[in-house]
């Protein structure tokens, strides 16, 4: 039992009749990088605030390292948080901010530990700088140093990179992951950016409307999405609603797709699995070719249906007819 640093069971939290968390259950292992992924308003930040102790659940239990947290205030919980807006103390310099938690603990060798933490986040020598003179990335790193220096059991990160520009964000993703590995600390990471979640996490929980739709490693969530929502939110897809008889699924507009599903289902094929002019298949018309550098998106139309393909081998131009095909094993079956 003790291998779980965070255990959330059946947690419900409502705000004025709206349920921000509607029966959440999840378990995070020791040293795991765990992401809560979902659109804004899905309840992921509320769940994080419940773990931090800023809110208390209406129903359900939250355990940290096997201990029930009911009634335990934030300052008695062995978790630290990196806030979305960093929440640095403006009246303290960088060292003062980082030392804040250590001073409360009356820890020995505060100066040395502050220096070590600043080195870990790449801010060596920043001790005496005023936090208001720092760039966004430097503020982010200061907030990170402040949160890790006391060595909490779990680090909570609330969209810590969302305010930074793309280039900086990518660099920091890598750094955060490396830092997490070297500290061996459990990270609970909240984000609405699916690429970020896939790139960094050991496991991802995809949330929608206060519920968890799927929990699993990034590859599993991406390749075998459990629901239509997960399939659409984590990456993009071509969806086909139809009825299956065990060998074929037939759609309302007359398509027959090879698949063993039975009953009413939604089929999904990822754009990168779709081949254009790669053999016999569905007849379509190329509408748009969107060159994106590393990849090219091809938008096609087959009847009333819009299809997206990412096929690096395709050489087509808008207005041309083309065939669209995929391997049967690349078809994902989703409950309708």
């Amino acid at each position: 039992m003790d291998e779980f640093d965070v255990s959330v069971r059946g947690v419900v939290k409502g705000f004025g009749g709206r349920r921000a968390c509607d029966g959440i259950t999840l378990q995070i292992r020791r040293g795991e990088f765990f992401s809560l992924l979902g659109p804004s308003g899905c309840g992921k930040t509320t769940l994080m605030r419940l773990v931090a102790g800023f809110e208390s659940p209406d129903e359900g239990t939250i355990e940290l390292a096997g201990r029930d947290m009911a009634g335990v205030p934030p300052h008695r919980r062995d978790v630290n948080m990196v806030f979305q807006n960093y929440a640095l103390f403006p009246h303290l310099d960088v060292a003062g901010n980082v030392a804040f938690g250590l001073r409360i603990q009356k820890a020995p060798d505060i100066e040395g530990r502050v220096r070590a933490a600043l080195e870990q986040v790449g801010l060596a020598g920043y001790e005496r700088r005023a936090v208001t003179t720092l760039s966004g990335g430097e503020q982010q790193r200061t907030a990170l140093a402040r949160a890790i220096v006391t060595g909490p059991r779990v680090l909570l990160l609330d969209e810590p990179l969302s305010a930074l520009d793309l280039k900086l964000r990518q660099g920091l993703q890598e750094e955060l992951r490396r830092l997490q590995r070297s500290l061996g600390m459990t990270f609970l990471y909240v984000t609405h950016d699916q690429e970020e979640a896939l790139a960094m996490s050991d496991r991802v929980a995809v949330m929608n409307a206060g519920r968890i739709e799927q929990t699993g490693p990034p590859r599993e969530v991406y390749e075998t999405p459990a629901t239509r929502f997960v399939a659409g939110f984590v990456g993009s897809g071509n969806f086909f609603d139809g009825r299956g008889d065990g060998t074929m699924v037939r759609t309302a507009d007359g398509l027959s797709i090879e698949c063993r599903a039975v009953g009413d289902v939604t089929l999904m094929v990822r754009p990168e699995k779709v081949r254009v002019n790669g053999g016999p298949g569905l007849a379509a018309l190329v509408e748009e070719v969107l060159y994106q550098g590393a990849s090219t998106s091809i938008v096609l139309r087959a009847g009333d249906r819009r299809l997206v393909a990412e096929d690096p081998d395709a050489r087509v131009r808008p207005g041309e007819p083309a065939t669209v095909s995929w391997r049967p094993e690349d078809v994902r079956v989703l409950p309708k």
């Binding site: 931090a52 205030p73 300052h75 978790v79 806030f83 929440a87 403006p90 005023a130 208001t132 006391t150």
Partner: protein, 258 residues
């Protein structure tokens, strides 16, 4: 049109400041008559050496200091309370800031009636309570303005790092609002120091403060150079306090390091 406007502005400024200038100039005049005969510091020497005036100054300072401490504690607490949401919050905010608009004479008579009804008698202590009553509104208004610019997640961040709610307030919120608190304190001190009407109704006859003393001297002997000197000193002290209060209230909320 522009010229007219300029002349009008000039006239307003002259009306505002000439009386004060006259008072200041004649406090240095060698003659008792309102005709300049030469520079002297005699009136200042004389006033500052006057035991009655010394006593009045002392009482004024004690009253101002004590009522300021009380007003700062209560006014800051009132401002902090207004951060939470509770039923009747709007009414509460109105009630807290209303005394700023109540005429002094009404406030003075009201407090006089209250102390009379309570049978406490009148003393420096009742005057302290009276001054704290109207000053707490000013403090609450100044501190509230400061609090509105302070990020509440800072307090959460402090608690997250292990600070108790009280510790978070002491180490994070209080330093953030401190310029507002000091500014409110200076304002309260100035208002108390200058007050005549409310003191007159609540301090009792034995406790003449400086403004009251000035009034009494003028009522008895007309405006003398001594009064000019005392008034000029009061003006100087008030100016310093008000300027300091204004400066502090403009310290940016996210001011840099220490």
């Amino acid at each position: 049109m522009r010229k007219l406007l300029g002349a009008w502005t000039g006239l307003v400024l002259v009306t505002l400041y000439v009386p004060i200038a006259v008072m200041g100039v004649f406090s240095f005049n060698a003659s008792r008559r309102p005709r300049w005969t030469g520079f002297t510091l005699d009136w200042y020497r004389k006033t500052l050496g006057d035991h009655n005036i010394q006593d009045a100054v002392w009482k004024t300072l004690v009253l101002a200091a004590a009522s300021t401490v009380l007003a700062v504690a209560l006014g800051t607490a009132a401002a902090l309370a207004a951060r939470r949401s509770f039923p009747g919050k709007r009414l509460w905010n109105t009630l807290v800031s209303l005394p700023v608009m109540v005429p002094d004479i009404v406030m003075g008579i009201g407090l006089f009636a209250l102390f009379h009804a309570l049978g406490t008698g009148l003393s420096l202590a009742t005057a302290v309570i009276a001054h704290a009553t109207f000053n707490l509104s000013y403090v609450a208004i100044v501190v509230s303005a400061r609090l509105q610019g302070t990020d509440r997640t800072l307090e959460l961040a402090a608690q997250d790092l292990g600070a108790t709610p009280w510790g978070a307030f002491r180490k994070v919120t209080f330093p953030a609002i401190l310029p507002g608190v000091v500014s409110g304190a200076l304002l309260a001190f100035t208002l108390s120091f200058d007050d005549f009407v409310i003191t007159y109704f609540t301090a009792g006859t034995g406790n003449m403060t400086l403004p009251w003393k000035v009034y009494a001297m003028a009522a008895r002997m007309g405006v003398t150079p001594e009064i000019n000197a005392v008034s000029t000193l009061i003006l100087g002290a008030s100016l310093v306090l008000v300027v300091a209060a204004l400066r502090l209230s403009r310290v940016p909320v996210t001011g840099g390091g220490r």
